[in-house]
C-alpha cells in the first residue's frame, strides 16, 4: 500500500463521511459546517488526481464563495424553529431504502463498466508534463500545443477546438445571474410601512 493509496483512503473516507453527515444532521448550521468539510475534501481529491488548478478553483470558488453565500443565507433565515426541522421516521426509512438501492445500482454499474485496475496516465505523475494551468489556458484559447502528445490519443492528432466561446458564454451568464440575484434579493419596502 503506497502513499497515494493511503492518502486516497483518508481523503475519500473523510469526504464520503462528511457528505453523509450533511444528509443525516437535522441542524442546518451543522449541515453548513459538514458541507464545508465535504467541499474541502473534494478539493483534496482533485489534488490527488493531479488537477491542481481545478482544486485551487474549488477551494477559492466553493469554499471561499459559495459557502459564504450559504452561511449568510442560513444566518438570515435561521430563526427559532427553522434551525432544526424534524423529518418523520417514515420518511427516514423510505429515504434510506431508496438511497441504498440507488447506490447499489450505481456501484454495480461502475464495477461492471470500469475495471478497478485501469492504468492512470503516467505522464501526469511527472510535474513537467502534468496538466498545469498553462495547458488549461491553451486549451481555453485553442492554441496549438508546441509538442502535441499524439501518443495519448493514438490516432491522428485532434484538431484544437478551443473553449473560448463557451468561456465567454459562461462569464456573461454569470454576470446576468448575479445582476438578477441582486435584483431578486434587494431590500424591499414593506407594504404599509411608514415611509421615512
Amino acid at each position: 500500500m503506497d502513499t497515494q493509496a493511503i492518502l486516497f483512503w483518508l481523503v475519500a473516507l473523510w469526504t464520503g463521511l462528511c457528505a453523509v453527515a450533511v444528509l443525516v444532521t437535522q441542524n442546518i448550521v451543522r449541515a453548513a459546517a459538514w458541507l464545508l468539510f465535504t467541499l474541502a475534501g473534494a478539493a483534496g481529491v482533485f489534488f490527488l488526481l493531479g488537477a491542481d488548478f481545478v482544486a485551487a478553483t474549488q477551494l477559492i470558488v466553493y469554499v471561499g464563495g459559495i459557502l459564504v453565500l450559504v452561511v449568510f443565507g442560513v444566518m438570515l433565515t435561521a430563526q427559532g424553529p427553522f434551525i432544526t426541522m424534524k423529518v418523520s421516521a417514515a420518511e427516514w426509512a423510505i429515504s434510506t431504502v431508496v438511497g441504498l438501492l440507488l447506490f447499489t445500482v450505481l456501484a454495480i454499474c461502475i464495477y461492471n463498466g470500469f475495471s478497478p485496475q485501469t492504468p492512470a496516465n503516467e505522464g501526469m505523475n511527472d510535474p513537467a508534463t502534468s496538466m498545469s494551468s498553462v495547458v488549461l489556458g491553451e486549451a481555453f484559447l485553442g492554441i496549438e500545443d508546441a509538442t502535441p502528445q499524439q501518443n495519448l490519443t493514438g490516432s491522428k492528432p485532434r484538431t484544437q477546438m478551443g473553449y473560448l466561446l463557451p468561456f465567454e458564454v459562461v462569464s456573461v451568464h454569470l454576470l446576468i445571474v448575479l445582476i438578477g440575484a441582486a435584483y431578486l434579493a434587494r431590500a424591499k419596502r414593506r407594504r404599509g410601512a411608514a415611509t421615512p
Binding site: L49, A107, N121
Partner: protein
C-alpha cells in the same frame, strides 16, 4: 485493493451523488435543498476529473468541464439564495412544504 483505480473515484462520486439526491428529497429547509444540489454537482465534478486523469482522450476536457460546472454552480447558488431570501421575506418561513400556491 492496494492500487487505486478509476472505479474507486467513481464510487466516491456516487456516494456524494446519492447523499445530495437524498438531501434534496428529504430536507424541509430550502437551504438544505440547496446544499443537496451542491453535493450532487461535486459528485459529478469528481467523476469529470477522475475521467480526465484515467482516460487520455479526456485529459483536457474533463478538467475544463469541471471548471464550467464550478462556475455554473456559483451562479446557481447565488440565484437560489436570492429566491430563498425572497420567499422568506414573503412567507416568513423557509419550509419548502409551505410553497404550495401553484398546487392545482
Amino acid at each position: 485493493m492496494s492500487d487505486i483505480g478509476l472505479a474507486h473515484y467513481l464510487i466516491l462520486g456516487a456516494v456524494l451523488f446519492v447523499s445530495g439526491a437524498l438531501c434534496m428529497a428529504m430536507k424541509r429547509n430550502a437551504i438544505g435543498v440547496l446544499m443537496g444540489v451542491e453535493l450532487v454537482l461535486n459528485g459529478a465534478n469528481i467523476n469529470f476529473v477522475a475521467f480526465a486523469r484515467f482516460n487520455p482522450a479526456f485529459q483536457v476536457e474533463g478538467q475544463i468541464f469541471a471548471l464550467f460546472v464550478i462556475v455554473l454552480a456559483a451562479a446557481e447558488a447565488a440565484i437560489a439564495l436570492a429566491i430563498v431570501l425572497n420567499f422568506y421575506n414573503n412567507h416568513m418561513t423557509v419550509d419548502v412544504d409551505t410553497a404550495e400556491e401553484l398546487k392545482g
